[in-house]
C-alpha cells in the first residue's frame, strides 16, 4: 500500500436517480399564490409573528400556523453576495448572480432562504456595488408564465 507516482487508474461514476418530494398542503398553497402574483405568509397566534415562506407550524412556538395573510411585495435587503464563478452544475452562461435575503415589509423574518436581485446590467460590478446595498429597498418582478414555484419571481428590482 505505497503511493504510486504515476496517475492511478480510476473508475468514473455518475449517478442519476429520480425522486419525488411532497410539497405538502402549506407549501402547495404558498406556491399557488405565486401563480396569482401573491406572496402568502402564515401568522402564529401565539407569538404573533408572520413568516414567509408560509409554515405549517411556528418553528419557535411549535404550534400549528393556520392563519394565512397576504404580505407586501416590497422590502429591504438584509445581506447579499455576488456569485461569479463556475462549478459542476453552474456554467459560464449562468453567472453572475446576486443572491440576497430580503425582509418584506410587515414580515418577521427574511424571505425564505434567498432570492435574486436583477433588472439592470449585473455584469457591471461597479454598478452593482453602487445599487445593491444592505438596507436597499426592493420590489418583486414576476414572470409572465408562472408555474407555481420559486422561480415565478423573476428577480427583485432595486427601488431607486
Amino acid at each position: 500500500m505505497v503511493e504510486q507516482k504515476e496517475k492511478p487508474r480510476k473508475v468514473a461514476s455518475m449517478g442519476l436517480v429520480p425522486y419525488e418530494m411532497a410539497l405538502g398542503p402549506t407549501w402547495t398553497k404558498f406556491f399557488e399564490g405565486f401563480k396569482e402574483k401573491k406572496i402568502l405568509g402564515t401568522k402564529c397566534n401565539k407569538c404573533g409573528r408572520v413568516l414567509v415562506p408560509a409554515r405549517p407550524f411556528c418553528p419557535r412556538c411549535f404550534e400549528p400556523m393556520e392563519e394565512w395573510v397576504e404580505v407586501a411585495q416590497e422590502g429591504t435587503i438584509v445581506t447579499w453576495s455576488y456569485v461569479n464563478y463556475t462549478y459542476f452544475g453552474v456554467t459560464p452562461d449562468m453567472i453572475p448572480v446576486i443572491a440576497a435575503t430580503i425582509k418584506l415589509d410587515g414580515v418577521d423574518c427574511a424571505m425564505g432562504m434567498s432570492t435574486r436581485i436583477g433588472g439592470f446590467d449585473i455584469k457591471d460590478f461597479d454598478l452593482v456595488t453602487k445599487k445593491v446595498k444592505v438596507g436597499a429597498r426592493v420590489k418583486s418582478v414576476w414572470r409572465r408564465n408562472r408555474q407555481g414555484n420559486f422561480r415565478d419571481i423573476d428577480y427583485w428590482k432595486i427601488i431607486e
Binding site: 492511478p8 461514476s13 445581506t79 456569485v83 453552474v90 425564505g112
Partner: protein, 379 residues
C-alpha cells in the same frame, strides 16, 4: 462518571492519494493499532464518521468503511454529520462503563468527488433554496457581508487569517495546502463570491483520522501521556438563513455547555490552544468572538493583536486549520487530534513553544455554521 483518555492518534495527509478508499483508510487505523500494540478485535467498540453519498459518491459505506477500519463483528456505528461527534459518541460508550476501548475513525477522499459547492447545493432544501442556486459558499458570503458591515471588520483582517493559517500549515506534514501567501495575495485573489475571495475558501482534501480512546485505567496502561476528555457542548440552529441572525450562531450555546462541563470560567486565559473549523477565513474571527476569546465585533482586533499567532498567547489553528486541510466530515476529528498532539507535546514542527494543558477543538457544518460543536481536552 468514567474518565476517558485519548491514547493515540494517526492522520493521513490531505493531498490526492493514489490509494483506494479501502487502502487509504486502512493505513492510519493500522498505524494507531500498531503504535498501541493492539489487534483490531481487541478494541471493544468502533465509531466511524463518513458521508457515503454526495461527499464520496460510492453510496456504500457498508461495503468499505467497516472492513477498512477493522470494525466488523464489533459494536460499531457510523455518523454522517461531523466526526467530532463520532469522537464524543466514542467517549460516551466508555463513560457508560460498557466498553474500555473505542476506536474512532473519520474518513473521506475529497479528490474523488466534484466541487464542494456542487455537493453543498444538495444540502439546500429542494423547494426554496436549491432552485435559486444557494450553497455553502453563497451563504457564507452573505454572512461575511453582514459581518463586515455590522462591526466594521475589514477585508484585510479576514485575509490575515489565511496568511496566518497557511503559514502554520507549512510546518504540519498532514496539511493539504502548502504555500506561503501574503495578505495582498489573498485580497488580490479572484472575487468568486463577493465579498469572499478564492483564497479565503477552504480546499477539499483527502483525510483519514484514527483515534484510540480508553477508560482511565486502560489509558494509563496504554500510554505514558493520556489526554483527557474534559468537556463537550453542541447546538443546532434552524435552517432558513432568513430566520436567523447570521452573526449570532449557536456556537455561543455550544461553547457555554463545554466550558461548564470542563470547569472553564475564563476561556481567553484558560485555553492554551484552539483548533477551530474555519472553512471561510472570516469565520475564524467570528467563531473566536463566539467562543469568548474576545468581545462581540472584536474579532478583527483580535487577529491584529497577534494573540492568535502560533507564538501568541492563544494560538488559533497552529495546524493550519481547515483553510489548509478540509476533509469534509473528518475535519472535526482532525481538530481533536491536533489538540491532543499539542497537549502530548507530539505535534512536531508546529508544536507550541509553551506548556499546553488545555486545548479547545471546534467543528461546524451546515450553512453559516448551522451546527456547532466544542470539545475541551486536558492534560
Amino acid at each position: 462518571m468514567q474518565k476517558v483518555g485519548i491514547v493515540e492518534v494517526a492522520q493521513s495527509a490531505g493531498t490526492e492519494s493514489s490509494l483506494s478508499l479501502m487502502e487509504f483508510t486502512y493505513k492510519p487505523v493500522k498505524e494507531v493499532l500498531d503504535k498501541v500494540g493492539m489487534k483490531r478485535d481487541e478494541v471493544d467498540t468502533y465509531i466511524l464518521a463518513s458521508t457515503d453519498v454526495f461527499h464520496s459518491g460510492m453510496s456504500c459505506a457498508n461495503a468499505f468503511d467497516w472492513d477498512a477500519a477493522g470494525a466488523f463483528m464489533k459494536p460499531a456505528s457510523r455518523e454522517e454529520g461531523d466526526a467530532i461527534t463520532a469522537f464524543v459518541y466514542g467517549c460516551m460508550r466508555i463513560m457508560s462503563g460498557e466498553h474500555d476501548t473505542a476506536l474512532v475513525v473519520g474518513l473521506i477522499k475529497g479528490s474523488e468527488n466534484p466541487e464542494n459547492d456542487t455537493l453543498t447545493s444538495f444540502v439546500a432544501d429542494p423547494f426554496y433554496s436549491r432552485p435559486v442556486g444557494i450553497q455553502e459558499t453563497t451563504a457564507a458570503a452573505m454572512q461575511m457581508r453582514l459581518y463586515l458591515q455590522r462591526y466594521g471588520i475589514t477585508e484585510e483582517q479576514c485575509a490575515k487569517v489565511v496568511a496566518k493559517n497557511l503559514g502554520n500549515a507549512l510546518f504540519n506534514p498532514y496539511a493539504h495546502i502548502k504555500k506561503r501567501v501574503s495578505v495582498d495575495d489573498v485580497l488580490n485573489s479572484e472575487r468568486i463570491c463577493d465579498p469572499l475571495k478564492a483564497l479565503e475558501c477552504a480546499p477539499k482534501s483527502e483525510g483519514v483520522c484514527a483515534m484510540l480512546l480508553a477508560s482511565e485505567e486502560k489509558a494509563k496502561k496504554l500510554t505514558d501521556k493520556p489526554v483527557w476528555f474534559k468537556g463537550w457542548g453542541s447546538s443546532m440552529d434552524t435552517f432558513y438563513l432568513g430566520d436567523r441572525d447570521l452573526l449570532d450562531t449557536q456556537l455561543k450555546t455550544a461553547a457555554a455547555s463545554a466550558y461548564k462541563m470542563a470547569g472553564v470560567s475564563d476561556p481567553r486565559k484558560e485555553i492554551d490552544v484552539a483548533e477551530i473549523c474555519e472553512p471561510y477565513a472570516f469565520q475564524e474571527l467570528l467563531w473566536c468572538e463566539q467562543l469568548g476569546f474576545c468581545a462581540q465585533g472584536q474579532g478583527g482586533k483580535l487577529i491584529d493583536s497577534g494573540v492568535t499567532q502560533i507564538t501568541g498567547a492563544l494560538p488559533v489553528n497552529p495546524s493550519g486549520g481547515v483553510l489548509a486541510m478540509n476533509p469534509y466530515v473528518a475535519r472535526g476529528l482532525y481538530r481533536v487530534a491536533e489538540g491532543a498532539l499539542q497537549i502530548k507535546g507530539k505535534a512536531g514542527e508546529h508544536q507550541l513553544d509553551k506548556k499546553v494543558n488545555t486545548a479547545l477543538a471546534h467543528s461546524t457544518y451546515g450553512f453559516c455554521g448551522q451546527w456547532q460543536g466544542v470539545v475541551i481536552l486536558g492534560s
